[in-house]
């Protein structure tokens, strides 16, 4: 893979990388890794608890409302160490793809 020269190239490159990642199974592997780290740090359970208790207090249940309300705390709540570790793994994969 050659380095991108314009935004159009970057988009195209992203799409290609994205496709390779999924097709090779690397996406799923990294997702499982991230999932187990998030679970160990209690993030999954925390979000589950929040969503459940919010849903319990809603007069009319709505997925869209729940998703909207939980998206920000979910993003902010990701433990720094998990974010760092997973970004490293992703970074390594991407780097490896460029070196080929």
């Amino acid at each position: 893979m050659s380095k991108p020269t314009s935004t159009l190239d970057t988009d195209d490159l992203y799409a290609q990388l994205h496709r390779r990642m999924i097709e090779s199974g690397e996406w799923d592997r990294i997702r499982r890794l991230m999932s187990s780290k998030l679970s160990e740090h209690g993030w999954v359970d925390e979000m589950r608890h929040r969503a459940k208790e919010r849903a319990r207090s809603m007069d009319t249940l709505s997925f869209r409302v729940l998703l909207e309300e939980i998206s920000l705390p979910a993003r902010d709540g990701v433990p720094v160490v998990v974010k760092r570790d997973v970004m490293n793994v992703i970074g390594q994969y991407v780097k490896g793809q460029f070196e080929k």
Partner: protein, 517 residues
């Protein structure tokens, strides 16, 4: 449409089972969004046509609105979205279809079997005509089993363990299924009968707190060391109770027992000792009913930054150096340094963990200390990284993320937690337990609704997890039935002998009267 749903669920289930390392695996073409062509990591599929699309950018919902098609499904979770409701929907038929399809795929894809046989397919129970007729006539009782237990004098240790038994799905099904009927049991001081009575009480229409007096009395009679009015350790009582129930279960044996206790709690622990000099590995397999986890690391520090259940399990399965005095290799017949590693060879349906919070200091005369450091534990647990199979498959870097077999075989859900507050000889036990999706807190006779957050934030002493999907052996006559049939045959033969003896008496008497003439 239901068939299409099942096909989609099956497609996804098959895909995620392939956990082989990326280098070895074949490239599989991934679906792309029919609107924007992006590769889909999480496809949403229309149930009325072949459209697949992204959720995030709204492509799949736009498709539904434009075409008037009603439903699409999230391939990863199996959740169905309704365009008219503009929301995900909840339906019993869909849930049942999802579960049965996922289970079927897992069964088909389980590659490893000790006996080299394919896995036994799960068959849901379908009532026969006579059974259906019986069901029609029976009264339906609510099945939640939330009844407080009275404290009979420092017996909170007993109450928490009983609550964990009551909320144990396998034990509950066994006793509610009338598998050990008190009225038919011939044992005296039978703890199994006490369990049956306990379940009858808890699921009766009387919901006022109940005092487990006869359970306590029987426990004392069978295990004298548990008697007395002082506070006992809940874990000690747990193990004692398991052994008592096993002992009084019909058809229980001392080797490879098939009683309800062993079926529920028994797993296998493997200990591999590798000689550092010649590399020879000796493996021993031991049965286990539960796992006790150390909270102190090698250096005596608590946790070492990893105060999580996963951290404790990693410590439990970490290779440990044995000094030359502790081991002599059978192959190179010299005392050498060796490395010992524990792993779980067989996972039981119910996993019980105990955190070793009470230290008995043998060196000083001080009162045994309690380690109160909270340990974080999850609501769902994947046990794969601690199994012998996965550990043997691990790469050089110890990466245990690739292992054979469907994930479902390693996944567990938390259903009960026991808490202890105070000091070792002067404390109080309480517990949390889950029914379906709701958590409750139990404090002797006081039962209150609670939630997942409260449970996970509590300081746990013991945790109980149940396997999400069970695996089945092909049908074998249950040991208690075999024993009962043997008993019946024996009784019939005894009856015959008695009858013959009686007949002989009559004949002899007759002969005597005839001869006497």
């Amino acid at each position: 449409m239901l068939n299409k749903y099942k096909a989609v669920v099956a497609w996804h289930a098959r895909r995620i089972q392939d956990t082989s390392p990326p280098a070895k695996r074949r490239k599989v073409s991934a679906p792309t969004c029919d609107t924007c062509n992006a590769t889909l990591s999480r496809p949403f599929v229309c149930l009325s046509c072949s459209f697949a699309g992204c959720w995030q950018s709204g492509h799949v919902t736009s498709h539904l609105h434009e075409t008037g098609h009603s439903f699409c499904v999230d391939t990863r979770s199996g959740s169905v979205f309704c365009a008219d409701c503009d929301d995900f929907i909840c339906d019993g038929t869909i849930d049942a279809a999802h579960l049965s399809t996922v289970l079927l795929i897992e069964e088909q894809m389980t590659r490893f079997q000790v006996a080299k046989r394919p896995r036994e397919p799960y068959q849901p129970w379908v009532p026969s005509e006579s059974e259906a007729a019986l069901l029609k006539e029976s009264t339906v009782l609510p099945c939640q089993g939330r009844r407080g237990l009275l404290n009979l004098g420092q017996t909170c240790f007993l109450n928490v363990i009983l609550q964990c038994f009551i909320h144990n799905p396998l034990l509950r099904n066994y006793f509610l299924g009338d598998r050990h009927n008190t009225r038919l049991c011939k044992h005296t001081d039978c703890t199994c009968c006490e369990m049956d009575s306990l379940f009858s009480e808890v699921y009766s229409s009387n919901q006022t707190p109940f005092g487990p007096t006869s359970f306590l009395a029987t426990t004392w009679k069978v295990s004298a060391e548990m008697s007395g009015y002082s506070q006992q350790d809940a874990h000690e009582f747990f193990i004692t109770a398991l052994n008592q129930i096993h002992g009084t279960c019909r058809g229980s044996t001392n080797i490879s027992c098939n009683c309800i206790i062993h079926q529920t709690f028994a797993g296998q622990l493997q200990s591999d000792v590798t000689c550092e000099r010649c590399g020879n590995t000796t493996s021993t397999v031991d049965p286990m009913l539960d796992i006790s986890l150390e909270l102190r690391g090698k250096g005596g520090e608590v946790g070492g930054g990893e105060n999580t259940l996963a951290g404790c399990l990693r410590r439990f399965t970490k290779p440990e150096k044995l000094g030359p005095k502790e081991y002599s290799c059978s192959k190179c017949t010299k005392a050498h340094e060796a490395v010992k590693r524990l792993s779980i060879r067989k996972l039981p349906p119910v996993l019980s963990f105990q955190f070793k919070r009470f230290e008995h200091k043998t060196t000083s005369k001080a009162v045994p200390q309690k380690i109160d450091t909270p340990v974080r534990f999850p609501a769902t647990l994947n046990m794969a990284p601690y199994t012998t199979l996965a550990m043997n498959h691990a790469g050089k870097d110890g990466d245990v993320s690739t292992y054979p077999g469907p994930e479902g075989m390693y996944e567990y859900d938390l259903f009960a937690v026991i808490n202890h507050e105070g000091q070792m000889d002067n404390g109080h036990y309480t517990n949390f337990a889950r029914f379906r999706d709701e958590w409750y807190r139990f404090d002797d006779d006081r039962v209150t609704p609670s939630n997942l957050g409260a449970c996970l934030n509590s300081n746990a002493y013991m945790c109980f997890y149940v396997k999400r999907h069970l695996d089945y052996k092909p049908y074998m006559k249950p040991t208690y039935r075999v024993t009962r049939d043997n008993d019946i045959v024996r009784e019939m033969e005894q009856e015959k002998l008695k009858e013959m003896a009686r007949q002989k008496e009559v004949d002899d008497a007759l002969m005597a009267t005839i001869a006497g003439d």
